[in-house]
Subunit: 357 residues, 2 copies
């Protein structure tokens, strides 16, 4: 049973028959849209926008007015949890996210509180409710969080990093302390995603932006292990609906077999991975989401159409493919080129789906 | 026949029996050494150091005086060829390499000259001769170049890039022009490496720093294809000696099977790839070089020893493994930690080699 007008995205994640390939786009609510930039300016700062449910809801809905996307995704940041733990998230122009109080000592980690999503992350939960209400069942709403490992990198480094020297230093030098931090984060992420689900998120996605910077062994021990813990703690059903769950590790193409065993319904693919080979490797364990190179959206609409066609062709026949970029859309892409991508998915994908029974 | 006192590196690349695993380090002549910083300051600029054979020879030899490395590598930059083609290479503090005259039009590409290594790259060839002479047959000398694709990224972008928008734009929008550029570069790279071989380089390595940013298909068509062309044009023997050739694509772990068919004797591995799985995947086609995470050298000497042991163990028994980092050493590593790595390779690796017949 579903109350969605368009449930193609959910059905695809569950590998149920559909009549075409669904499409959405990482960072679809974002700077490439002039209407987003307008609201962002109005809000004053990125965090002011994130923490204002009305404005965050508005920017979530903006791309759906322009493009026939098959899902909405909560407008928020991956670093809301560390902020709720007291690290003080802020953004500086051109330098990405930073924390006022990065984790520097064992005591910092030991005393980290478990945030109550209904309190410290109330603004996100309210935003989810508001978006869900406004969507009126048109398309499903995706909730999300950064993965424990990815959150830990920012919390220890104090922001973005080139070499991840501090967080890897902690991992190599004091692995037990690192595990303590990741366990705390896994529980906080699960609480947070469950709260999003109860507020209306119909699918959730875990963004492991920096798992790909680890060795194969460390990815398994310090990133995937905690993605599994999150998954085990998540609601798999809510109010009679299955809540599909997507795991995306940027740069994780070498580890798809292991990721496919982590309990997720689908894996996100970056653009480097060939989706045909990926499908062959994961078999019928998971659906796949991706994976057009975000830079391909600078190309002409004709070239974009060809690239879309190629990815659809490489995935092949049958359900289980959600079309997306391999990473977030870049801020200076022409919205007409997004339209070219969406149109191409609509035009070419029905050929790859058998008629519904 | 070889005139080398220590030919462990060469024998390993050719998968001939050795009594221990050889070790060297990408960027082993570099800023982590105080004696390098001294010479670099004396030279005035990075390019002044590269173009001065006496000084470039001196910094090449410095790490060999401190550590029991099994190979020397020419001190130079990967971007000497575009500079020799007239693009005007320069370095700005903290921003990496830049070109005064990046490629902007079809005409820029069409009129690119083929440099004569004996003329425009004379300073490199002289450096190779001088290093070879000074090594006195102690260990082999590695020559190198950037790969055609990697050179093209810098030449089109005008320097380092985050998203490679311009070069991918050229690739997507005008693929024939991109192929023209890559063909010119492949021939120039082969000429350059052959000149290094004739001047004394006893092995060569192709650095494909940015191949890993491509899709699987584009990697094959625009990077690996030209690495193959380079290989086909290279001298495989010189003065009765086999000249082994190493291909390193950072981020190329998903494509090892294809790389193993490109005609190279060995593949460089970044740290994300598990060397055990890599060996299994490439079988007996190539030797492997790598792959300690450069960030692991910040850890304690004890932890470094454990990581070295683990990589040796994962590669397993027999010849075909050159120990190295998975990328260049970082500039603020303590040289004592490099010693810990080299000592661990010496201590633990003999167990993995059968006695010589």
């Amino acid at each position: 049973m579903t109350t969605l007008t368009n449930d193609t995205f959910i059905r695809t994640l569950l590998r149920q028959p559909v009549d075409r390939t669904p499409v959405w786009m990482m960072r679809q609510a974002g700077r490439y849209l002039p209407e987003y930039r307008h609201i962002r300016e109005q809000a004053g700062s990125f965090m002011a926008l994130c923490t204002n449910p009305e404005l965050a809801c508005e920017v979530t809905l903006q791309p759906l007015r322009r493009f026939a996307f098959d899902a909405a995704i909560l407008f928020s940041d991956i670093l809301t949890i560390p902020d709720a733990m007291g690290l003080g998230l802020y953004f500086t122009e051109g330098e990405g996210p930073k924390f006022k109080h990065p984790l520097q000592t064992a005591a910092d980690i030991e005393k980290l509180p478990q945030p109550d999503p209904a309190v410290e992350l109330r603004y996100v939960i309210d935003t989810v409710s508001l978006i869900r209400k406004n969507l009126q069942g048109s398309v499903p709403l995706i909730g999300f969080s950064g993965s424990p490992w990815t959150l830990a990198t920012y919390m220890v480094e104090g922001g973005s990093s080139k070499n991840f020297q501090k967080v890897k230093g902690l991992m190599y030098g004091q692995p037990q302390l690192m595990h303590l931090l990741l366990d705390k984060l896994a529980r906080a992420v699960a609480d947070y995603l469950n709260a999003q689900i109860m507020a209306g998120a119909q699918a959730v996605m875990l963004f492991d932006t920096w798992g790909g910077l680890l060795t194969t062994e460390d990815y398994s021990d310090f990133s995937l292990r905690y993605a599994k813990q999150v998954r085990a703690l998540l609601k798999t059903d809510y109010q009679g609906q299955r809540i599909p769950c997507i795991l995306f590790t940027k740069g994780g193409g070498q580890w798809l077999e292991n990721m496919a065993d982590a309990g997720y319904d689908a894996l996100g693919l970056d653009w480097q991975t060939d989706i045909r080979q990926a499908r062959h490797r994961v078999g019928d364990k998971v659906a796949l989401q991706g994976n057009l190179d975000p830079v391909a959206l600078y190309a002409s609409p004709e070239v974009i159409g060809e690239k879309v066609k190629s990815i659809l062709h490489h995935y092949g026949t049958g359900s289980g493919h959600v079309f997306n970029l391999g990473h977030g859309i870049l801020p200076d892409i022409n919205p007409e080129h997004v339209k070219a991508m969406v149109d191409a998915v609509h035009q070419y994908s029905p050929d790859y789906h058998h008629p519904l029974a």
